[in-house]
């Protein structure tokens, strides 16, 4: 059993593949601009680049984020509690190492004292854990949370507080919290081998020694408890003394080990939440910034991969935040891709926003599959098991090596993408002017050969290109085209849609842009 506020089923959650996207989309720069703390930004990006691939997990995260948005005090309280909780283990280990006897030869008596001291430390922690359960449940119960995740935490904590087994462990632990070994008589059940050698001894009783002299009359009239067997004193000699100390030590050591293992198992259920909450920390920071920048955002509707399409209305390119743009500066676009389409090509003159549209679509998918809101007014997306992008750049030379050349470098990148989509059906590939590093006709032919086969692995694509020959190759019943017609100044005319996308989806808004 393990709780996570990021993953609905931590052991089972599948993760999609995201291929160098944070860098290609300048998403990392945009995130770091809004979240200056490197540790938080890195963690946030790490979660983003492991997208969720089932609807329930995405909704799980969305709900928790909404609760944190709606109840900021709850967020603060849980953040503090999770942080304290995660420190408990380190404190515990520090206290156990402090119980170790000082250097020098350890005799049996000293070893017994050490073992008991270590056990005392272990015995404290069930109580500590129970107090945390109380705190978690109380914190969450103060608010009308809607998320499955937080409700489950509270419910679990309440159940555990009433749990007989946990309370039994606490009761047993309480026996060892105070005093020293010489204050007790320990009873141990002996497991012997066929030569009557001791192979294990397990504690079955611990009784505080009462050194007051017993009134003989009291003793005479005290009834022996029913079922008790007689007790035989053992004559003491050096060997027997040694054995007595050994048996006590072994029994206590074994129970210490058992309590440590079990307590550790109980503790691990909530361990790590202080790290996971960093994601929400960053998410809330981004949401605050979007608000301040007047950029619309919406929690998307997410569908299974087999629905294989998306619809984004008034989508804004999140990465333009790097340039200091606000919602008023960034032109919202509409984009859609139907199940029956293999993909679409985007073309148009320079500075018409082609790359921005591509980026916006990619980032929308990444955010959606991270459980985050999308910078749009309407967002409906099916889950992509893989998200791949290639943005042609001068760094190809560097990546490909001296002898390979830019084109070979791009081909190498494409080969990696193809490997990825083969293993991840219902992937989305976003390509920005790929294969324009060779003759356009050859590049177009080569690219078309690739794109035309992607449907065989159920991958779709969006391709920004200047290779006009592509448009001669495509089957317009299967491939949409988008012409970005804005000329400089570029904030003027909307994108126009053509082809299958517009025909198949009557609800598709054609050429509409927010003014």
């Amino acid at each position: 059993m393990k709780f996570s506020i990021l993953y609905r089923e931590p052991e089972k959650s599948g993760r999609g593949e995201v291929f160098d996207l944070a860098y290609e989309l300048s998403l990392d720069r945009a995130v770091r601009k809004l979240i200056p703390d490197t540790r938080r930004a890195d963690y946030f990006l790490g979660v983003l680049t492991r997208p969720l691939t089932d609807v329930a997990s995405i909704v799980y995260r969305q709900q928790i984020l909404r609760d944190f948005i709606d109840f900021p005090d709850l967020y603060d309280e849980l953040r503090t509690l999770f942080s304290r909780y995660d420190r408990v283990r380190a404190d515990w280990q520090g206290m156990r190492s402090g119980a170790h006897p000082q250097s020098g030869a350890i005799n049996r008596r000293a070893l017994l004292d050490y073992t008991f001291a270590s056990l005392k430390v272990t015995a404290m922690f069930p109580k500590t854990l129970l107090s945390f359960y109380t705190s978690f449940a109380d914190a969450i119960d103060k608010y009308e949370v809607q998320s499955e995740g937080l409700k489950r935490i509270a419910e679990y904590c309440r159940e555990m507080l009433e749990n007989d087994s946990l309370n039994e462990i606490e009761r047993i632990s309480a026996l060892f919290r105070y005093k020293t070994p010489k204050d007790f008589e320990f009873s141990s059940l002996a497991e012997l081998d066929q030569a009557i050698r001791l192979v294990s001894c397990d504690l079955c009783g611990i009784e505080e020694i009462d050194d007051k002299p017993i009134n003989p009359l009291v003793k005479l009239f005290t009834r022996k408890k029913t079922g008790e067997t007689p007790v035989f004193d053992i004559e003491s000699d050096e060997a027997t003394v040694d054995d007595a100390l050994y048996i006590s030590n072994e029994s206590l050591r074994r129970i210490d080990a058992a309590l440590t293992a079990v307590t550790g198992g109980i503790y691990d259920v909530f361990f790590g939440l202080s790290t996971e909450i960093v994601f929400y920390d960053a998410a809330l920071e981004i949401i605050r910034s979007l608000d301040e920048l007047n950029i619309d955002f919406v929690f998307p509707s997410v569908f299974p991969p087999e629905d294989d399409g998306f619809r984004l209305l008034s989508l804004r390119d999140f990465s333009l935040i790097i340039e200091g743009k606000t919602g008023d500066d960034i032109i919202p676009r509409d984009a859609a891709l139907m199940k029956s389409s293999d993909g679409f090509l985007i073309h148009g003159k320079s500075n018409t926003g082609k790359t921005s549209l591509l980026r916006g679509i990619a980032i929308a998918h990444i955010f959606a599959q991270a459980g985050l809101p999308v910078t749009a007014k309407t967002a409906e997306l099916s889950i992509r098991r893989g998200l791949y992008a290639h943005f042609s750049s001068a760094e190809e030379d560097f990546r490909a090596g001296d002898t390979a050349g830019r084109f070979e470098g791009e081909v190498q990148q494409m080969a990696r993408i193809i490997d990825g989509v083969e293993d991840h059906p219902y992937s989305l590939i976003l390509l920005n002017e790929t294969f324009q590093t060779t003759s356009y006709s050859e590049g177009a032919e080569g690219m078309w050969d690739i794109l035309d086969t992607l449907h065989l692995v159920r991958a779709k694509y969006i391709f920004v290109t200047r290779m006009n020959k592509m448009f001669d190759f495509i089957d317009r019943d299967r491939v949409g085209t988008v012409e970005m017609t804005t000329e400089f100044p570029r904030f003027q005319n909307p994108a126009e849609l053509s082809g299958a996308a517009a025909q198949e989806h009557p609800a598709y808004i054609e050429g509409k842009t927010e003014q």
């Binding site: 087994s165 008589e185 066929q194 001791l198 192979v199 035989f232 054995d243 007595a244 129970i255 293992a261």
Partner: protein
């Protein structure tokens, strides 16, 4: 009551008249490197023809998987009895002896049961099967078995989580029965919480003081009285010589595991023809000890000793396979003599009267020096070897000056040749002249840069031992060392 003499699985009759093979012979030919420990404990004798045949019959039965499984189980059972016997002998009090004896006899009876259904054919196995089949039907066996059925459960009840030891500082008390252990409660709680059960921490078996043992006896008086009664009544039926089966069974199972490796390497295994006349002929003998080094390919060689040429010097290039050839002859002789199959294509051998080896040893701090050690050993060999013996010498007299070595080698070789022993003498002493002792030589391919072929031929060696090739490879010639150290 069991018979005094348990039937041997190694000898049809007594081994009193069998010539002994010194343990160092097995070590010299490196047979010990292939075998599990203790395999050779019972086999240091050259067998009679009857015993050779009898052991072969058991090896033949071991081709059957079912028989091998039963024999393994029987060996395990004997070893179990052996462990309890050790514990019994180490016990410090009668109470300990009483309780251990119950487990010991349980293991002994199990051995008898398994032995009675072992099966297999041949002189030794028939005798063995008949004996134990009869024993398990005797009254002493039935009565002992019934008694164990009643008494052994008491052993388990006393030993497992029943005795409660109550420790208060340095004092201890004992009672029969305690409450449920906290560990068991915690384990149950862990399971209920969906957690893994905490691992049980091992404790090494620790003997308890005699006083505590006596306390345990007081806490379980009825049980210990039963154990004492059992030991008193059943001790006469414990035949300790049963434990000799550990080494007897170990011999067969140890060698069978070697045979598996040999056949897996594609090497033939055959039972040589036993010759009534003095004879030593082997076609394609393999040094199977090379399997211990995971050698990929073992080159076989023929071996032939006759009345006219019974003994040879063996010379030739370093690393050419002389010692390997010597070991092949030694291993074949030993395996044949103790009733095992031999790794070769074909063989006809007479049973030797003695097997003697001399291989180089490290200097021992307590010896009087290597040469004197060699001389002593040679003297012992000369004392015992006769015309029926096999003698294998590996660079004897290499621990003295060259002149002396040549003289001694020539004298020793001549004497052994005259005696008529079958054997080989590896030597690098090229100065031996005027000798009747014939030579064998390892063959190098001169045309291929003196590549070693590992084949042995009947001819005298060149004067050189090709040591220089090896020195060149490792840059240890005068020229390399001079260049390196700036001398030239």
């Amino acid at each position: 009551m069991p018979s005094v003499a348990l039937p041997s699985l190694l000898f049809c009759k007594s081994n009193a008249d069998c010539p002994k093979i010194e343990p160092e012979v097995f070590a010299d030919v490196r047979l010990t490197s292939l075998l599990p420990p203790n395999t050779l404990d019972a086999v240091g004798y050259i067998l009679s023809e009857e015993d050779i045949i009898a052991r072969r019959e058991i090896f033949a039965c071991l081709q059957d998987t079912g028989f091998r499984t039963r024999l393994s189980a029987l060996r395990d059972s004997a070893e179990e009895a052996g462990r309890f016997d050790d514990l019994y002998n180490a016990a410090r009090s009668d109470s300990e002896r009483d309780i251990i004896f119950v487990s010991l006899m349980k293991a002994v009876l199990e051995f008898y049961r398994l032995a009675s259904v072992l099966g297999g054919e041949g002189a030794l196995l028939s005798r063995f099967n008949d004996y134990f089949s009869a024993q398990v039907n005797m009254s002493w066996f039935r009565e002992t078995s019934d008694s164990i059925e009643k008494t052994y459960p008491l052993v388990t009840s006393v030993l497992h989580n029943r005795i409660c030891l109550m420790t208060k500082g340095e004092n201890i008390r004992v009672r029969d029965k305690g409450k449920r252990s906290y560990l068991s409660i915690i384990s149950e709680c862990a399971e209920n919480l969906g957690l893994e059960k905490p691992p049980r921490q091992p404790t090494p078996p620790t003997p308890l003081s005699i006083n505590i043992i006596e306390g345990i006896v007081k806490a379980a008086p009825d049980e210990f009285a039963a154990f004492s009664e059992f030991r008193k009544n059943r001790m006469p039926f414990y035949d300790r010589t049963l434990l000799s089966y550990i080494s007897q069974l170990g011999f067969y199972l140890g060698f069978v595991s070697v045979f598996d490796r040999v056949t897996a390497a594609g090497i033939p295994l055959i039972f040589p023809v036993i010759s009534d006349e003095k004879r030593f002929e082997i076609k394609d003998a393999y040094d199977i000890t090379l399997l211990a080094k995971d050698s990929l390919k073992i080159v076989p060689n023929d071996v032939s000793f006759t009345e006219k040429e019974p003994f040879f010097y063996l010379t030739g290039a370093n690393g050419g396979g002389k010692t390997t050839y010597l070991r092949a002859v030694g291993v074949a002789t030993l395996m044949f003599s103790i009733g095992c199959p031999v790794a070769c294509e074909k063989a006809e051998l007479s049973i030797p009267g003695g097997i003697f080896t001399h291989f180089p040893r490290d200097e021992r701090f307590d010896s009087s020096g290597r040469f004197y050690d060699e001389q002593n050993r040679v003297d012992r060999i000369l004392e015992k070897a006769d015309e029926r013996s096999v003698v294998l010498l590996n660079e004897t007299y290499s621990a003295t000056s060259e002149d002396r070595a040549v003289t001694l080698t020539a004298a020793l070789g001549a004497r052994l040749f005259k005696t008529g022993v079958f054997g080989l003498y590896i030597t690098h002493q090229h100065g031996i002249s005027q000798t009747k002792v014939p030579y064998l030589n390892v063959v190098v391919d001169v045309a291929a840069n003196n590549r070693r072929t590992y084949k042995v031929e009947r001819r005298r060696a060149d004067k050189s031992s090709y040591a220089r090739d090896i020195l060149e490879k490792y840059r240890l010639t005068r020229e390399h060392l001079g260049e390196r150290f700036g001398e030239i």
